[in-house]
Symmetry: C2
Subunit: 391 residues, 2 copies
Amino acid sequence: MNNFTFYSPTYFVFGKDEESKTGKYVKRFGGKKVLIHYGGGSVVRSGLLDRVKASLEEEGISFIELGGVKPNPRSGLVYEGIRLCREEKVDFILAVGGGSTIDSSKAIAAGTVYDGDFWDFYMGKPITEALPVATVLTIAAAGSEGSPDSVITKEEGMLKRGASGEALRPVFSILNPALTQTLPREQTAAGVADIMAHLFERYFTNTKEVEVTDRVIEGLLLTMIQEAPKVIKDPDNYEARANIMWAGMMAHNNCCGVGRDQDWASHGIEHELSALYDCAHGAGLAAVFPAWMEYTMKQDVMRFAQLATRVWGCSMNFQNPEITAKAGIDALRVFFKKLGLPLTMAELGGKEEDIPYLAHTACYGNGKKGTVGRFVELKEEDVANIYRLMR
Amino acid sequence: MNNFTFYSPTYFVFGKDEESKTGKYVKRFGGKKVLIHYGGGSVVRSGLLDRVKASLEEEGISFIELGGVKPNPRSGLVYEGIRLCREEKVDFILAVGGGSTIDSSKAIAAGTVYDGDFWDFYMGKPITEALPVATVLTIAAAGSEGSPDSVITKEEGMLKRGASGEALRPVFSILNPALTQTLPREQTAAGVADIMAHLFERYFTNTKEVEVTDRVIEGLLLTMIQEAPKVIKDPDNYEARANIMWAGMMAHNNCCGVGRDQDWASHGIEHELSALYDCAHGAGLAAVFPAWMEYTMKQDVMRFAQLATRVWGCSMNFQNPEITAKAGIDALRVFFKKLGLPLTMAELGGKEEDIPYLAHTACYGNGKKGTVGRFVELKEEDVANIYRLMR
């Protein structure tokens, strides 16, 4: 196991109706002038935004609003948020929404207290401070409610890049599984794929002797495999929503990723797809991961066989472990398919002729040095081959 | 799933040689005048205490010392620590040791800033503030390095009682698995039993639909079952020590206990044993748990069968699940036995004739109302029967 540090100081408030306590928690964590940041649509229609505002008003906390966050959140709105926070002397950002809203909020939080261009952070500049961010989560997916990460798309060139820093961990996150019951089926499914992808990115490692994190990752995957079909069948299944929501947090606050190298090639490969075609990140990951697995399986057949037997319940073929390893990948494809997730470039709106551009950007885009991934260091040609396997 | 809050803000620093950074972290977390609290013996002999002191000196941090913590830490030393901290205007407590040292440090931390008798907290008074506590951990067992809990034994009457409060969560904890390599075999084994017991206390619940926490608990148990025999065979196995150490933290910071009722009868039943006979807490738990399981199995046979199949690899007997459930309990007994742990009252130094007293104190001791446990609410007679099953 590698040496590591782990720090997850977010205060999680989980369960039915807990969003009614938002104002109380903002007060407790020192917010006096709040920017409420959100997307639009369902947060407004469902009355959630009004409930959150009422809760702030009850505590006498003043606030301003900025809606309009889109999936694959853009730099333009971040700049607007930063300007607004400075003008209005905002001291606390409250994200009401999913991963995109939270990531946009984190960018605004870091950018507001920084003299330069916030995009510097997404080009690799370390983040040392930010306004406090809190969240009221509306979808189990990105894990941004407990992570130090943010992904933003720069409109010029549609470049999708990530930044990370302990200062971006939310100070509190309110997770009410009931809020996810109204999600459209495809968003629920994309969220499931996103959570499972966060687990796979950590699972595929060359670090040896990491049984504890292997086992926790496997436990969270087993949870997803049992619970996800329930919510696709019955969106109102609160208990299944609750299990998925906590699994989504644990999948990405890094408690199960510590002490081991992690891969993250598939996220890089997917980011190019959602940047160019504006598909849902989770949907893109559902298509990328089985292809990535097929392509990299030879790196450590026994690790793939372990996943297949422990998680997918495949029988171990002791004569030919490759058969077991492959059966696990097939099981993943079948599972994603049953959830209605895309498995091909075409389903994502992608085109064969874009592959050279996509592969090049994945490997040489801003700040990258010609390869992606750590489990296998993939070159441009490898990435192109993986895109071609998505069919 | 029940509504819950989860807050684990401890900064964990994990790996080889990390204790050399103790001073750096004390500084980062604002310590200026430190009480170093420890037991004695190995911490001194191994040179660990000197390394920690050197690291504080390097950062120019002044400190005083208080050694002498014993297993099942006593109130007498806590009073001495409180007096010392007040006299010397200590603002930070650094525990160098295992669960006993950390628990004693937490008691001192809460008591120093409280006008009344610190024992009030162990009689149920809520803890609202405490000096910051940090730890350099030397045994994987109690999980106190990441928990808000502390257990102290009051010398008058040998009453062993727990207190809990978010203010008691360590601000940082340094976990170097190599420090545990020198532990005597029986302490290592007792630590393993303690960690597994923390998982069992959370696993046995009447809360339904808690797959995510079930699966994480099972994953941590599977880790213990694979890794513990390795360290009994080869105490110097760093990798196995590392897996156990992180499992020990995750077993008790409550990330796998949230949203579900927990039991804790076995801890109560054991506390009477270690208070009266001064046996190791983990050793006591190894003897109590299989007996408790046998006694309560009928409450939810399918939960016991789930544990037996998922964790112990027992075949499910679909005609008679009780047989599977029982096979899981047998497997636990065999496992503890192989680790050299005690399974009987006699091995713990206990006597049949003490059982009425033990059972009475477990149910009616300070602050208790006649029953222990939530999975099954055990009365005095039940507890006596469980003690009798420990043979």
